[in-house]
């Protein structure tokens, strides 16, 4: 096979030097100057050209058919004011205020049945969840007036607790369609570039390459579904990412991989809202703010220490402190 030929192995040296040079402003150290190799110093055409790019090229810098994508590099602000949400006529979220800015990670914790997932679904616009009051804006734009797909294109992303299975639609096809919907007509990502990017992201997430051609979530294990959600997060480059119990059903290794992937896409241009039951996830993805939800609203906010305290002591001390008998929505006296 060709890749076992000595010429290829030697040609690895200049590639390493190149990768180094991009990070250090084109200064190539003396000892890493490319040596003449069997290929005459010229890069063989079958050396994958993408290797010359640093591994973490944000996709907004990737050239597309019509040139550069003008991604909005400003810091996003998601502002939730006095939000009320009903499901089947029953009010679940009851006056929630929260502001998530780019670069911040907010964690929402709380016992079962306190409205955490309802908040996530309502922000994304699930048809079953009816917003009965309040305002939600992303960079001043009214999110609630938008359809689900418009919210997504505005930069909102929800990694779901129970993602739907769509037989017959391959992961790759789905992701490319979603990406192109974001990039807009005439700005579509070239197919080869897309696949290269997809393979790279899948590798980072420890996802088998065959994933690309498998049908969307069909027959995926719980862990695979969660990884697939994070893969989409990494591919779609949202401005505000909501992760709804992304840690449930993951073993410790998978949890670490998912957390690493989330950390890898942390940036000042992206804000996170992470919903979780367990403090463990927050050991890997360190939040800036921790909020506790009970009875459909945020009852306490703090920093990382609050999460640790909850892990140690449970929720009861907090309920006592706040005078809450039953934290479940609708069960209050």
């Amino acid at each position: 096979m060709r890749w076992t030929r000595p010429g290829f192995r030697l040609s690895a040296a200049p590639r390493a030097a190149f990768a180094f040079s991009t990070e250090c402003g084109n200064v190539i150290p003396e000892n890493m100057t490319p040596k003449v190799n069997f290929t005459g110093g010229r890069r063989r055409p079958w050396v994958r050209p993408d290797r010359e790019l640093p591994d973490t090229v944000p996709y907004e810098r990737i050239r597309t058919g019509n040139g550069e994508v003008d991604a909005d590099m400003s810091s996003p602000v998601l502002k939730i004011e006095d939000l009320h949400v009903s499901v089947d006529g029953k009010e679940i979220v009851r006056g929630l205020d929260l502001t998530v800015k780019g670069g911040e990670i907010h964690a929402i914790m709380g016992p079962n049945g306190t409205g955490k997932s309802t908040l996530a679904a309502a922000l994304m616009g699930h048809p079953r969840y009816e917003v009965t009051g309040g305002r939600v804006t992303l960079d001043g734009e009214d999110i609630l007036a938008m359809s689900v797909d418009e919210r997504a294109r505005a930069g909102l992303f929800l990694a779901m607790q129970y993602p739907a299975e769509v037989p017959g639609v391959s992961n790759a096809n789905f992701l490319r369609t979603a990406l192109n919907a974001r990039l807009g007509e005439g700005n579509e990502i070239p197919v080869i570039k897309f696949h290269r990017m997809l393979q790279e992201k899948m590798k980072q997430l420890g996802i088998d390459p065959s994933f690309a051609e498998r049908y969307l979530n069909e027959g995926f294990s719980g862990g695979e579904k969660k990884r697939n959600e994070i893969l989409q997060l990494a591919m779609l480059n949202p401005r505000i990412a909501i992760l709804d119990e992304i840690d449930s059903g993951l073993d410790i290794d998978a949890l670490r991989i998912v957390a690493d992937a989330v950390n890898a896409v942390r940036s000042p241009e992206r804000g996170f809202l992470i919903i979780t039951h367990y403090q463990r996830l927050l050991e890997y993805i360190v939040p800036d703010h921790v909020h506790v939800m009970m009875q459909g609203r945020i009852v306490k906010s703090g920093d990382r220490e609050l999460a640790r305290e909850l892990e140690r002591k449970g929720y009861d001390w907090l309920k006592q402190e706040l005078g809450i008998v039953d934290e479940t929505v609708g069960a209050e006296v």
């Binding site: 769509v166 639609v169 369609t177 919907a181």
Partner: protein, 429 residues
């Protein structure tokens, strides 16, 4: 409502016999079939009202031009050098068989030429799978078929190319009565693909009755794609049956897009021990389509196996009945059968019936199962795709294509697959 009288006469039969100078046995078979057609009352079907349909056909044109074929021009040019017979309104436009296949003993030509040049082969197989006794419309076809196709693959011959038969029905034709006869000798292996296209507005008040006979002799492997674009106007009848001998396999691919009034039957008679048959089907109905489809597997051979997987989509005011029937005859020991029938209803005005039927007369059966469902597009799936930025219409399309794609991909002829894909794509949502 009084039954409409047939307006055709025996002179139409004699006219065809004279035009093609047919041998005596065929002339008498046609005449007998015509008598049968006249004698049979208009059938009463459970889900289809035939009382108002007019049994009319002819006069049949002796020559046609090539105008008005814009809709299928792409398909016709895509057929390329592959073996193909193209018939328009009963008149053969093209009959092409590559020389290397002819050298291997393959016969692929229009049925009239076959009767003239290979009379014994045709006589041995014609009416063996579908005869005039079958139904009023099968008798109608047996009496008046013209512009059909004959495919014969000799023993042990395996062909990679796909044999393609295209029947184009335009305003020129007064009814359409194509008949396809496919004979696979022992251990022959090949794929056959036929497409009935309505190009432009087809006349109403006439009958289209198509018959496809597949004879699979021992050990043969036949893939038969039967596609149609049935439009409103005529009354469409389709009868397709395979006789599957010992250890032979027949794989049907059924596809229909249209708004026609249709009664269709696809059946495999699993006669031989170890015979197998599968049916993969996809249908899309729109407008005021009425489709009464019966997909049937009749197991007589021991250890015979069958699988049916039908997927239908209806929108607007379409009404589709998908009946899947598995019959395991007494004595068919160790037979195995599975059927699945899924229908998607896109509009509240559309209607779909999925009717599974299992008739099991044998005690010793290895498996026999069915699944049927009628539903709407899953809103959770739509929401999920939309939550990634895909607009609703595009999301629905993706889901629909995901649902239909496996059956479309099973169509063996690339030219027909692409044509059919384009037809589906045009009429989806």
């Amino acid at each position: 409502m009084a039954e409409q009288a047939a307006t055709v006469s025996l002179s139409l039969v004699d006219g065809l016999c004279d035009r093609y100078q047919e041998p005596e046995w065929l002339r008498s078979a046609r005449q007998a079939a015509f008598a049968r057609f006249v004698a049979l009352p208009s059938p009463r079907l459970e889900k289809t009202d035939l009382t108002r349909r007019v049994w009319n056909a002819g006069p049949f044109p002796a020559a046609v031009g090539t105008d008005g074929l814009d809709e299928v021009a792409g398909l016709l040019s895509a057929l390329g050098d592959a073996p193909a017979v193209v018939v328009r309104d009963g008149v053969v436009l093209r009959a092409h068989l590559p020389a290397d296949l002819a050298r291997r003993g393959v016969i692929f030509t229009d049925l009239h030429t076959a009767v003239r040049d290979h009379e014994n082969l045709v006589q041995a197989a014609l009416f063996q799978a579908v005869d005039a006794e079958e139904s009023k419309w099968a008798a109608f076809n047996a009496a008046l078929w013209h512009g059909g196709v004959f495919l014969y693959v000799p023993r042990h011959v395996e062909i990679d190319a796909v044999f393609q038969f295209v029947y184009i029905h335009t305003a020129v034709g007064q009814g359409a009565l194509p008949r396809a006869l496919v004979v696979a000798e022992d251990n022959a292996k090949f794929a056959y693909s036929e497409l009935y296209v309505a190009a432009g507005d087809v006349p109403g008040d006439v009958v289209h009755s198509g018959v496809t006979e597949v004879i699979a002799r021992p050990g043969a492997r036949v893939t038969a794609a039967v596609l149609s674009h049935l439009r409103k106007g005529p009354t469409h009848f389709i009868t397709r049956r395979a006789k599957v001998d010992k250890d032979a396999h027949v794989d049907w691919v059924f596809g229909d897009v249209g708004d026609g009034f249709t009664v269709a039957l696809i059946e495999s008679r699993l006669l031989g021990d170890g015979s197998r048959s599968t049916l993969t089907g996809v249908g899309l109905g729109f407008g005021r389509q009425h489709l009464d489809l019966t997909a049937s597997m009749v197991h007589s051979g021991r250890y015979s196996e069958s699988d049916m997987n039908l997927r239908g989509v209806v929108r607007e005011r379409a009404n589709a009945v998908y009946r899947t029937r598995t019959h395991i005859v007494k004595g068919a020991r160790g037979a195995g059968a599975e059927q699945a029938d899924r229908m998607l209803v896109l509009d509240p005005t559309a209607r779909a019936d999925a009717i599974p039927m299992l008739l099991i007369d044998e005690n010793n059966v290895q498996r026999c199962g069915h699944a049927a469902s009628v539903g709407k597009i899953d809103e959770n799936q739509v929401y999920y795709l939309m939550s990634r930025g895909i607009p609703r219409a595009a999301a629905q399309r993706m889901i629909l294509w995901g649902y239909l794609e496996p059956a479309v991909n099973a169509i063996p002829s690339p030219a027909m697959r692409e044509h059919f894909r384009a037809l589906l794509d045009k009429e989806l949502v």
